[in-house]
Symmetry: C2
C-alpha cells in the first residue's frame, strides 16, 4: 500500500472525486448537487501534488453536467466518456452512445446528459505539436520521446521524499492519447463495447444451442468460403478501423453455419463433444482474464482446481492419495508423448542429456502397443528419438483388444531382435472401435517384465466415473500413467487433457531444465503448485476450469448419467443392426463407438471397401448426418460415435435409412466405384 | 434431404406444429387463435406416420395455453418447457422461470402463461416401470434395453419403402427422458440457461475490464484457496445437482480476484497480455461450437482463416506467396519442437524411423543457440533424442545478441568434438531481455554452413506488423522457420502460436504417419486444408479465430499502434532509469522488456543478487505491481514487460518509488538477506 496513498488495490479512496486531483476534496456543494449545477474546479495551489492517471470515477453519482472547465485548470487533459470515437455512428442514438469530444487544453468538455452508470477517464494530453514522432523504418533505434512536458506531476510517496517521477519532472505523457487513433485503440478495449459484443454473440449461441434439428455438415468449397471470409474483413489498411457490429455478426454466423454441428443429433462422426454450455461460459472467462496456468502465481484458482480435480478423479482410479500426480496438457497426443518421455527417461537415464546416440552398442529402446493404438503413440516414438521402428505391435483378439496370450511371445521376439521394450501402451477405448484392452492382465504382464504401463484412456477413461461402466477399466490401478481427455467424454471444450501418474516422482521425469525467468530458486508453498516442470508447455491454457466448474456445479452424476445413456444408446443401435440382414456388424460395442458396413445384395466383394468410403462421403455431403470411416482389417467400415444425449435410437434408424437409400442409389447407377 | 422429409437441415417444415405429429396439420382454428383457447389434438389415424423426436416448435406464436391433452392421444410423452426441474427455485418469480411439470400419459400439461419466446419440447416417455434397467457394476456387458415400446413410430422415407426404424417397430425410447435425473441432464444443456449463465459472467467481466486501478497480484495461500474453492462445490454425490447461480458467481469472482491482473497498469510482469476483449468474445464462440481444427471438415472457417492470416502476415515476412506454409499450434514450446523436428528429419532422414541409435558411429546431431535462448529449445533437444548435451551455446555480445563474429569459431569447435550442427536457433526477442539476434548476418552464416535457421520470434515477431519496428527483424526472409506467438504481442488469449516455414514442403517433414480414421486416402479440395499431418496435435483448439477476428474487424493498425506505444513507453522508462543514480540499467531496451537493478548506497556487492530477489517478492506480495526477475550474468535483476497500453511513464515512476521504499526498508531493517 502507498504510504500516502491516492490509490489502493481497489482504486482511489472513496473521498476522491474524479474531477478533483487527489488531495483536493471537491467542493461539498458540487459533490452533493448532482442534477444541474455547473461544476467548477479549484486548481491545485501546490502544483506537485499526487495526481495519478488514468483516473476512474468511483463515486456513486454521476458528476454534474454540463461541465465547463476553468481556463486556469493546470493540467492539460482529454475528457473521455467511456464510449469514444467514430464507432458512435453505429449507435446513432441514445445517451450511452454519444461521441466523445477530444478536447484540447482549456476547451470545455463534452456536455451531457450521460447515463448514471457512465464512468469517465481523464487522460493527459501533450502540449507539443507531434506527441508521437514517427521513426523512419530504417533507423536502428527507437528515438526516445523528448521530455518537454509543461506540467509537473508525479506521486508523492510521503511527506519528505519525492517520488521518482517527481524527482524527474517532465516525464512524457502517453503518446497513445489525444489522437483519433488512440481513441480507437482505447475503444477496442472498452468494457461497455465488450458487453455489447458479448450480447451479440450470446444471442447467436443461444439460438444455435436451442436448434436440435438433425443436421450434419454444410461442406463449403474452401475457395468460396475464403471469399466470404475476406469479404468480412476491413479494408482499412493504415488506421485502426472502428468497430463494426455487422462484421462480428457475419463472422459468428459464418463460424456457426460452417462448423461441425456438435450439438445436433445428426453429429455422430467424431469424438469431441457438444460441450455442456456452462463449460463454454467459464472458458469464456478464461479467455478474457487470460491466466496461463503453468505457474501458481499466474493462475491461482486453476492451479488449485487442478489439485482438486486430481483428487476427485483419483477416487475412481484408486491410487494412494499422497502418492500420485496429475498435470493438464494440450491434448491427448501431448499427454501420450509426455508419459512416454517419463518412461524413457526412467529406463534410460542418460537419454535426456546424451540422446539416442548415447546408447550405441546397447539394445535399442522400444515401446509395445496394441495394433489399434492411436497414431499419436507411434508419432511420439518418432518424435522422441526412439524411432517408429521401435514400435512393437501386439496382435489383437477377436474383440479387438490386445491378446494377452500372444503378447509374451511377441515381446520375446522383439528382444531377440535387439530391442529393449521399456513401456507397454494399452488403450482404454481404442479410437477405431472403442475396444478396451484388458488392463488387469496387462498390468500383471508389465510388472513381471519391468515395463512401464501407460494407458491411453483419452476416450474411455471417463467411464471410470460411472458405477455401471467402471469395470471396463478393471486393473487401471496397476498403470503407471494414464491419459484422459476431458474434452471427449466429459464434454468440455477442447483441449482439456489430464495426465495421471501413479507415482508423483515420475511426473518430474519427463522434462529437465531450469530457466531463471520462470522457475523460482527456492520452492515455497506457492511454487509447490507450479506445473511448468511437469508439462511441456510454458504458456498453457487454464483448461481445468471448464471441467472443474461443471464438476463443482453439477457434480459427478452429470457425466455418469450422460455417459451411461450414450453407451446404452450404442448398444441399442447395435441391437438394431444385427437384425438388419443387409448390414454387417463388426463388433459388439463396448462403449459409444460402433463400426459396421452396409453390404446389400449385389455388392461385389472387391467393391466393399470403396463402397463404404463412397457412402460415407455422400452421407457427409448430403448434410443430414456426419459419420466417419475407419479401416477394419484393411477394409473400410462406417463408424458412428455417439456423443450427444439428444440422439435416440430413432435417429440411428434414420441414419440407416439414409445409408440404404444412398447405397442403393449407388448400386442402381450401376457404378460401384472402381 | 429426405424424400418425404419431416425434417430438413433447418428443422421441421414450417407447416409443422409442435403439438401435431408431422403429417397432421394442426386444426386451423387452434393455430390462429393464440390467446386463450384450449387446444385439442386429433390423434393420428394412420399410426405409423413420421413422428420424430425430439421436437422443437418453430411456429412464430406460442401455443395456446392452458393446454389440456386428449386422453386418446396415442403417444406417451413428456411436455417440457425449455426451463425444467428444480432449478426453478432459484428463479422464484416470473413467467420465464416457471417449473416444469413432467406429465404422465394423459395427464394435463403445465399451464401458462409462458412468454412468447418460449419453445417447447415433446419427448417420449416409456410406459414400462423401469425404463433404464441398471446394470450391476460387475457384469461384463451392458445389457440391451428390451424393446417393449407400446407405440409405433419411425420415419417413412418414401411411399413404398419403410425406414429401418419402421421396419423394426418398437425401437426403444431414449432412457434419458422421463425421469427427474434426465430433466436435470437436459437442463444442463438448456439454451436459455446458457444465456442466463452468460449474462452473469459478462456482467462480471465488464466490471473487471472497466477497472483500471493499479494492482498486482492478490497472492493467496493455496490451502486457503483450496478451502474456498471446495466450499463452492456441490455436495450432491449421487444425483445431478440443480444449477445454482450462486456457485457460478462465486467461482467467477474467485477466478477474477485471484488472477494475474493482466488488464491493470500494475501488471508488468509477464509476456502474456491483457487480451483485446473482442478476441475473448470470439474465443467464447470457439468454446461453445467446439470445432477442433486439425481437419477442414471439422472446422471450415478456422481452416480458411489460417490460410488468410498466413498470407496477411507473410506480407511482412516476405516469402514467396505460393511457397511458404503456416500452421497453428498450442504454444511456442510446441512450435519450436515442431520446427526442430522438421530440421532434424531433413538433416537425418533415417532419424524418424530408426531413432538416434541409428546414427551410431556418425557425428551426433546438435543445435546451435544463443546463450539466452528460451528454455523450450534445450527442452526440445532433450525430448527429441538429440540430448541437451547436443545444444551448442553461442556467446552473446554486449547487446545480449548472438555475437556473429565469434559464432563460427564455436561451431568449428563443436564439429571437432564430433557434433554435427544441423540447425541454428536465433531469437527475435529473447525472453530474458528482449534482445533481437542479427538475423541478416545469421542467415548468411546458416546458408554458408548448410544449417536450418529457426527463428524463435515468440515474443518479438509481432514487431513485423509495425512499419516503425519491423527493422528489428531485418533478414527474417532468410529463415527456414519462424515461431510467432499471437498470445503475446498480438494480444489474443493464450495459446495462439503460429509456425511459419519458408518452404511449404518442410511443413510435412516434422511428423510422418497415417491413420485411417483421420487421414483421408485421396486428398481433395477439402483435405488440402487439413493440418493434422503438419501439427503435433490431433485435437487442436481453433486458436486462429481470435487473431483473425481482430485482424478482420480492426485491421493491422490496432496491433501496430499498440506495439509502437509499448516500445516507446519502455524506451521512456529506460530514459527515466538512466537518470536515477541508485538504479542500474542493464541494457538499452529494444522492445518492451526492460531489466534493471536497484542498487542504493550501502548495498554490499555480494548482496545484490538476493536483494533483487527479495525486492521482487515484496513488490509481488504487496499487491500493487507485478514484475518478474531474471538472472543477468548470474546475478538477479528486476524485469518489467510492458504489455498494457494503459501503463504510462507515471506508473513506471510509481513502481520505482515503490522499489525504493521497499528496498530502503530492507536496508533499514539492517538485514540485507544473506
Amino acid at each position: 500500500m502507498w504510504p500516502v496513498a491516492p490509490w489502493t488495490r481497489d482504486g482511489p479512496p472513496e473521498r476522491t472525486d474524479p474531477f478533483s486531483p487527489a488531495g483536493h476534496p471537491p467542493d461539498s456543494t458540487d459533490s452533493t448537487d448532482t442534477t444541474d449545477s455547473t461544476a467548477s474546479f479549484a486548481p491545485p495551489n501546490d502544483p506537485p501534488l499526487p495526481f495519478v492517471l488514468p483516473f476512474r470515477s468511483r463515486s456513486p453519482a454521476p458528476p454534474p453536467l454540463p461541465l465547463s472547465l476553468p481556463a486556469a485548470f493546470p493540467f492539460p487533459f482529454t475528457f473521455l466518456p467511456r464510449r469514444a470515437g467514430p464507432r458512435s455512428r453505429l449507435h446513432p442514438a441514445g445517451p450511452a452512445h454519444r461521441p466523445a469530444t477530444a478536447s484540447r487544453p482549456d476547451a470545455p468538455g463534452p456536455s451531457g446528459p450521460f447515463p448514471r452508470s457512465s464512468t469517465f477517464l481523464i487522460r493527459p494530453v501533450s502540449l507539443w505539436p507531434s506527441p508521437c514522432p514517427k521513426t523512419s523504418p530504417s533507423s536502428e533505434e527507437i528515438p526516445l520521446t523528448e521530455y518537454r512536458s509543461e506540467y509537473p506531476f508525479g506521486v508523492r510517496h510521503d511527506g519528505t521524499e519525492p517520488a521518482s517521477a517527481q524527482a524527474e519532472p517532465g516525464s512524457s505523457p502517453p503518446c497513445a492519447t489525444g489522437t483519433l487513433e488512440s481513441g480507437l485503440l482505447l475503444d477496442a478495449f472498452d468494457a461497455q463495447l465488450f458487453r455489447e459484443q458479448s450480447e451479440t454473440v450470446v444471442a447467436k449461441l443461444e439460438k444455435h444451442l436451442s436448434d436440435v434439428s438433425i443436421r450434419g455438415l454444410d461442406l463449403t468449397d474452401p475457395a468460396a468460403l475464403t471469399d466470404a471470409a475476406r469479404a468480412l474483413m476491413t479494408t482499412e489498411r493504415t488506421r485502426i478501423a472502428a468497430f463494426d457490429e455487422r462484421k462480428l455478426a457475419g463472422i459468428v454466423d459464418l463460424y456457426i453455419k460452417t462448423g461441425i454441428q456438435v450439438h445436433s443429433p445428426g453429429y455422430m462422426g467424431r469424438q469431441f463433444s457438444g460441450v455442456v454450455p456452462l463449460s463454454g461460459v467459464i472458458d469464456f472467462v478464461s479467455s478474457v482474464v487470460n491466466q496461463p496456468s503453468s505457474f501458481y502465481e499466474a493462475a491461482q484458482l486453476p492451479s488449485v482446481a487442478e489439485r482438486i480435480m486430481a483428487e476427485e478423479l483419483n477416487a475412481f482410479i484408486g491410487w494412494e492419495r499422497d502418492g500420485f500426480a496429475m498435470v493438464t496438457t494440450s491434448g491427448g497426443s501431448l499427454a501420450n508423448l509426455t508419459a512416454l518421455l517419463a518412461a524413457r527417461n526412467q529406463a534410460f537415464p542418460g537419454f535426456w542429456s546424451e540422446g539416442g546416440a548415447g546408447l550405441a552398442g546397447r539394445p535399442r529402446p522400444a515401446v509395445a502397443v496394441g495394433d489399434d493404438v492411436h497414431y499419436s503413440v507411434a508419432r511420439a516414438a518418432g518424435v522422441m528419438g526412439i524411432g517408429d521402428a521401435g514400435i512393437v505391435r501386439l496382435p489383437l483378439n477377436e474383440r479387438h483388444q490386445i491378446c494377452v496370450e500372444r503378447a509374451p511371445g511377441v515381446l520375446d521376439a522383439a528382444e531377440r531382435r535387439g530391442l529393449k521394450v521399456f513401456c507397454l501402451v494399452a488403450s482404454s477405448g481404442t479410437t477405431a472401435m472403442g475396444a478396451f484392452d484388458p488392463l488387469d492382465e496387462l498390468g500383471d504382464l508389465a510388472r513381471e517384465r519391468g515395463l512401464w504401463l501407460h494407458v491411453d484412456g483419452a476416450h474411455g477413461a471417463s467411464l471410470l466415473v460411472s458405477d455401471e461402466l467402471r469395470h471396463k477399466l478393471r486393473g487401471i490401478e496397476k498403470a503407471d500413467s494414464l491419459t484422459w481427455d476431458a474434452h471427449k467424454m466429459l464434454f468440455t471444450p477442447a483441449p482439456c487433457t489430464l495426465l495421471f501418474y501413479r507415482n508423483k516422482e515420475n511426473s518430474l521425469g519427463a522434462f529437465r531444465q531450469r530457466a531463471s525467468y520462470v522457475f523460482d530458486e527456492e520452492p515455497d508453498v506457492y511454487t509447490a503448485l507450479d506445473s511448468g516442470e511437469k508439462n511441456f508447455e510454458c504458456t498453457k491454457r487454464p483448461m481445468i476450469m471448464p471441467l472443474w466448474t461443471l464438476w463443482a456445479v453439477y457434480g459427478r452424476a452429470l457425466f455418469a448419467r450422460k455417459i451411461e445413456y450414450l453407451c446404452r444408446l450404442t448398444a441399442d443401435a447395435h441391437h438394431l443392426l444385427v437384425r438388419e440382414s443387409d448390414f454387417e456388424t463388426l463388433h459388439r460395442p463396448e462403449a459409444n463407438i460402433l463400426c459396421f458396413r452396409f453390404r446389400p445384395p449385389g455388392l461385389a466383394e472387391e467393391d466393399v471397401h470403396a463402397f463404404q468410403v463412397e457412402i460415407r462421403n455422400r452421407i457427409k455431403s448430403e448434410g443430414n448426418f456426419l459419420i466417419s470411416k475407419v479401416d477394419v482389417g484393411q477394409v473400410a467400415a462406417l463408424r458412428v460415435v455417439m456423443m450427444n444425449h439428444q440422439i435416440t435410437s430413432e435417429h440411428f434408424g434414420m441414419l440407416l435409412g439414409e445409408i440404404r437409400r444412398v447405397g442403393r442409389d449407388l448400386l442402381r447407377q450401376n457404378r460401384p466405384p472402381r
